[in-house]
Symmetry: C2
Amino acid sequence: MENGVDILIRGGTLLTMSEAMEIVHDPVIGIRDGKILFVDRQDRLTAPIRAKETVDASHSIIMPGLVNTHTHLPMIFFRGLADDLPLMDWLNNHIFPAEAKHVNREMVYAGSLLAIAEMILSGTTTFCDGYFYESSVAQAAIDAGMRAVTAQGFIDPPAGGNGNLSKYIEIAERFIDKWRGKSGLLTPALFCHSPYTCSPDTLKAIKKVSRGAKVPYIVHLAETRDEVRMIRERYGVSPVMHLERSGVLDDATIAVHCVWLEEKDLEMLATRGVKVSHNPESNMKLASGVAPVPDMLKKGITVGLGTDGSASNNDLDLLMEMDTAAKIHKVFRGDPTVMSAMTVLKMATIRGAGVLNLADSIGSVEAGKYADIILVDTRKPHLTPLYNCYSQLVYAANGADVSTVIINGKVVLKERRFPGLDIEDILDRARKIAGEIGKTGR
Amino acid sequence: MENGVDILIRGGTLLTMSEAMEIVHDPVIGIRDGKILFVDRQDRLTAPIRAKETVDASHSIIMPGLVNTHTHLPMIFFRGLADDLPLMDWLNNHIFPAEAKHVNREMVYAGSLLAIAEMILSGTTTFCDGYFYESSVAQAAIDAGMRAVTAQGFIDPPAGGNGNLSKYIEIAERFIDKWRGKSGLLTPALFCHSPYTCSPDTLKAIKKVSRGAKVPYIVHLAETRDEVRMIRERYGVSPVMHLERSGVLDDATIAVHCVWLEEKDLEMLATRGVKVSHNPESNMKLASGVAPVPDMLKKGITVGLGTDGSASNNDLDLLMEMDTAAKIHKVFRGDPTVMSAMTVLKMATIRGAGVLNLADSIGSVEAGKYADIILVDTRKPHLTPLYNCYSQLVYAANGADVSTVIINGKVVLKERRFPGLDIEDILDRARKIAGEIGKTGR
């Protein structure tokens, strides 16, 4: 500590989300060179610490930044464009046509910046995204100073048949080469849309690249009953077993949704070490179903939370997603003990980091990890009284209670203002693009 | 208009929530003597209007204030005290003992003020409350300038048997006499806790008083499977039929929860014109079940939204409650069309007003009604782009987006500050009381 720190956080209550779930009252946290240098109690400090910047966390809950394990950031432009419709009508007559017409590099970049602003304002410090023109998402993350896993998307032509595999492989390899090592904030990844929109050959080809490059492989899986029916008709097995047969299940696979699983599917996911991204609000809004998360947890599967894209949620607020996650499983199982506030808070932090294979470097506030830290201001009527921080965060707080956000040791949000982003410009650009989509998108 | 108006709201987009669901772009709304004098379009004004106060609503959605049809305000002191527990453990070992020890006039008043501040900050302008020491709730509503239906609560001794009926009747009559006509903001009412905690004689005696005085009669009904079992064991019929036999069902009865209903129960509620308060978040958190609201709506039953008390939600934010209400029915029925954003927005405004028999005077922004109006600031990342106001409010907004609140023609919240409440004092008093509860409450 002789050289001082870049940032010193003092006061409040720290939820470390460490394995022991240690809570530190009136803590002092030192941050240097992007990392957490030490975590201690103020009353144990023997000498003053020199700091370039001090953050007063009195009256705040301090905790690791939230990890959004599944998003499609540019779909923020389709938020509220079409809702309350049958899934296939929504996809085929609204979302897919709007994507065909409006998705381009500029739109993806502008939408990603807007979505990143929304996420920072609601306490998310890491997101995992899958879409097209994903390089624009990656660039937006770096420009905004946000940590991200960005996955280039692959989907076969809707007419059926394979896409051009060698072209896919080239795109995948180029994407990884372009972004690997470019920034400590960024992990490139690959995203096969689903077993019903990607042929087995496509699934395998992309998995081969991701294995070779040791990057995450993301796939929507068992989201709807229709998907299960479709895959059974085509391949004679469940979606999970179809992926197993295709050889793409391993501990670098992030399976998103996993709503319709049989017992042997669950066992296979556990055996292969597959990670699961649970997106309860999207699954509810699209009437897909309720994922068997309590069973996944019993089997030791690592489960994180995701918001999904803004067209099917319609926000990127993980604090509200936690509330929904805790409640939906209680009512679905008829058991209020089945999903505790602490469990969902783990899913939104350390377990989410585990889903992205980043649990060694983020997801908790411990010395040695990257300094991805948020402060929640508790001096508000709806957060008073405060008996239990876990309960309060899950059941009473929402994204707007996040006051300060630190990512990679930099303050990216301070008292809900962005030191480094021109938010008015981001909103103006987004409104301009949305104006065009609103005119012709539907 | 020759005399000018007290408040003039200009600009933005007005969702009137009138029967025709009229939307007015760039409106002008005149308010005088607590009421809405006129609603027009700015471009149709021929002469300037004199106003004591002008509210600039550019970039805002203007809409009627939200109506919370079921709360227990003082339970705000038990928010987060005990969560994720089996219902009977939660009630018998945590909530009931805490109530026995800590509920008193001062606690009820302090808790009500805190809860009212939370509700105003999240856009609620009318609440319907049932608790003990309800005069303190009523006084808090008047002191804070909030519209309320306040219901004195009755519950028989847990040992069983009737309470003292003549004493009950005296308390009920005295409560109504005390508050009737005291303030245009307040409607006194009576609240029998439930068919399993109130004997048929108690249910009937209180109903007789409420009929005579023409005030609402509130009762928890068919909340859990256990209740249905208990009532069937005791009386041989369903909870609804038990209340029908007791003669307490009519169009001034507000039945809260109504989760476990059979077809004939639904028909009986419709036949008697009973109003229903739907509390989805509480029903989810306590794992009670999902109320058959789509069926209620098909039968023409008037359904409003409620948050329930803060111990079982754990907030009073109706904007988030709308989100949950829309989503839970979709996933529960496997049909994304079953509950639209517009339908839940009606439940939170004009239908909620109907539940309280106040639809002639509040619940929509129309000339002649009381001026209970809120503004939602849309200049935020999570509310951008904005294609559809109903969707945005239900699926993307939360209480913190409410900027300005007008109740009874008075601005009670302006840019999220209270002109008339000392919020720091309210928080301090609440923290003091909560400090005692936290020490000994569990």
